[in-house]
Amino acid sequence: MADAKVIPFDDDRSRSGAGRRRGALPGGGRVQGPSSAGPAPVSALPGGQVPEGAAEAAGAAQDGGKGPGSGWDRRIAGGLAFLRRRLTGDYDVDEFGYDEELTDQVLMSVLRPLADKYFRVEVKGIENIPSDGGALIVANHSGTLPLDGLMLQVAVHDNHPAERHLRLLAADLVFMLPVVNELARKAGHTLACAEDAERLLQAGEVVGVMPEGFKGIGKPFSERYKLQRFGRGGFVSTALRAGVPIVPCSIVGAEEIYPMIGNSKTLARVLGIPYFPVTPTFPWLGPLGMLPLPTKWTIQFGEPIPTDGYPPEAAEDPMLMFNLTDQVREQIQHTLYKLLVQRRSVFF
């Protein structure tokens, strides 16, 4: 039986759970409550949820009442198959270094509790992301550390009915840092340049970009939710050339995770990084100060802006580019204000 290969390893049950929560909940009965979505899913396999997960994964309700024994067996078999593939190098990566298996089974499982439990990300308008074909998601950028990108990736994957993988475009600094670059490549991120973006979009991937870059993520707390300049609007011409829709995305909550009240320019220059954040807790409390504040997040995807109606030479028209860039920017900014008005408090 080939099932052993497809039994998801770790926390897939919470992903499928998330997928089903939106839908009509097949099989009736045994629904995982949101509260069982898995504390620390990489290391711990709490016994209570195991039969549900295994039954769901196997797609058969036969062992629903057999108790935890058979569930454990399946999980172990799936885990060992995964382990064997990893240790013998028998898995595939794409030309960008994206390791889908590792991302789904391990990296997502690490990030998921952060998104579901810590920041309690609420996702709106997921239907604005097409189920197939390329799309360019343009989001605001904030929070001193690029956690918003990672949360966006989890949000798209877990909430979209087609479980689409978001391919983020990251700054070159990411690819210079050891360990970070390795993980970023494996998680499907690549360098924010027109060549890579176009290649991904033409391959029909959903690409995420945060055109504010360091200006957005490293802005002081007093300027929160004020969109910075959107670069030269290169993302618009890339979307135009690939003929994919632009999906504006507004992220609320990320601004307050590390309130940056100061910026030590000297230290930043010494370390060769664009800014050195000073928050009420960092660097005063050391590593403890690195803990983000548990704010409540909302991610809203807006109406897609189609780009396929333009002639091919339109991608070189600077006026059109500026207009479209402004349109995207305005839409994100408006949605941000709207979400902020609706928000009850920063933390709830």
Binding site: F9, V42, S43, L45, W72, R75, I76, A77, G79, L80, F82, L83, R84, R86, L87, T88, G89, D90, Y91, D92, V93, D94, E95, F96, G97, D99, L102, Q105, V106, D172, F175, M176, L177, P178, V179, V180, N181, E182, R185, K186, T190, L191, C193, E195, D196, R199
Partner: protein, 352 residues
């Protein structure tokens, strides 16, 4: 047809192959040292392409096609890097000068390398033939290849009647390869750069010989075989995957330490662990092969993974053969209770 660098295994294979071609009358193989392998019916001329004597060889045999394969990272025999550089750069200059003077030459094929793109974190993930390198290779073979290509471009400008084909090969692997990366992969324990997992592409020797034949002949219908082409197998392997498939453990080292280890290894003559090699093993390099498929009309028989599997088979098992690892994992499953916790702790290792 004249083939340079005939004393190398790869050129030898190409010489033996091309003389079976009915459209090729005569093959003249040239090198500065006598080859240790058979060249079939080809005529071997002992000549150093760094000397102007090569012009006489060209004129004497009224050569119409020149296949320049003597562009390599490693020198044959003793001599090391200086000889290799001289052969690459001065040899190419002399050969191109001779070709320019020879009216009979109609086709030139040059073996180059994808290392001309360099390897930097700011580079796009996939290089096409037109991608300008963000940082030019500072030295070593990559710089030679850049200079060789520069001379070839100059030659193409001065002799527009000659069809020039530059083939940029990814890392060539095969049963008997002589590239620095193959030497590196033959180390019992692979030193790697901590925190980096480069993407690598390989091309099989059989495919190299095939594509050289396509480039050296008249183009087939609907294809064009002059220009610059990236040649690589499909797909990508990460260095971590390579080491696991070979069964050779890795030792992640900090970047400066890798440089020291490289220098030490080079000093004892084990392998050419040059700075550009370290850059490749840090940032990796992937090239687009769309031009190779669509313009040149060549489809490699081996994928990157297939090439690597062949190479791994020819090398024999390493310290941790994948089969044994697989069996060990299987034994873990048989342990009654240890399976659960053990697999999760291990998977975080394997995941890296």
């Amino acid at each position: 047809m004249l083939v340079t660098g005939a004393a190398r295994q790869l050129s030898g294979r190409f010489v033996r192959r091309i003389q079976r071609d009915p459209g090729v009358d005569r093959v003249i193989a040239v090198d500065a040292v006598s080859p240790g392998h058979q060249l079939g019916d080809a005529e071997f001329v002992l000549a150093d392409i760094r000397q102007s004597a090569i012009a006489r060889v060209l004129a004497e045999h009224s050569v119409d096609t020149v296949v320049h394969l003597d562009v390599s990272a490693k020198a044959l025999g003793a001599g090391g890097r200086t000889t290799a550089k001289e052969t690459n750069v001065i040899g190419t200059m002399q050969l191109l000068g001779a070709c320019q003077k020879s009216p009979s030459v109609q086709r030139l094929v040059v073996k180059s390398s994808t290392s001309v793109y360099g390897s930097a974190p700011r580079d796009p993930a996939v290089f096409t033939e037109t991608t300008p390198p963000k940082s030019l290779p500072s030295g070593g073979f990559a710089k030679d290849a850049v200079e060789v290509e520069g001379y070839v471009r100059g030659f193409a400008r001065r002799r527009p009647d000659v069809a020039v084909c530059v083939l940029r090969f990814a890392n060539i692997l095969g049963p008997d390869p002589d590239s620095p990366l193959a030497d590196y992969l033959a180390l019992p324990v692979l030193p790697t750069v901590l925190g980096y997992d480069p993407r690598l592409q390989f091309v099989h020797e059989d495919d190299v010989v095939d594509v050289l034949e396509i480039a050296a002949r008249e183009p087939r219908r609907g294809t064009l075989n002059s220009g610059t082409f990236n040649i690589a197998g499909d797909g990508v392997l990460l260095l971590s995957q390579c080491s696991r498939r070979l069964g050779r453990p890795t030792v992640p080292l900090l970047l400066p330490a890798v440089t020291w280890v490289g220098t030490a290894l080079r000093t004892v003559g084990m392998t050419d662990f040059s700075p550009e090699q370290i850059r490749l093993l840090t940032h990796g390099r992937v090239v687009s092969t769309v031009q190779m498929r669509e313009t040149l009309g060549f489809r490699p028989k081996f994928t990157t993974a297939g090439t690597f599997a062949e190479f791994a088979r020819s090398r024999g098992p390493g310290l941790l053969p994948p089969e044994r690892v697989g069996r060990a994992v299987g034994r873990l499953a048989e342990l009654p209770m240890a399976g659960g916790p053990a697999d999760t702790t291990h998977s975080t290792h394997g995941a890296r």
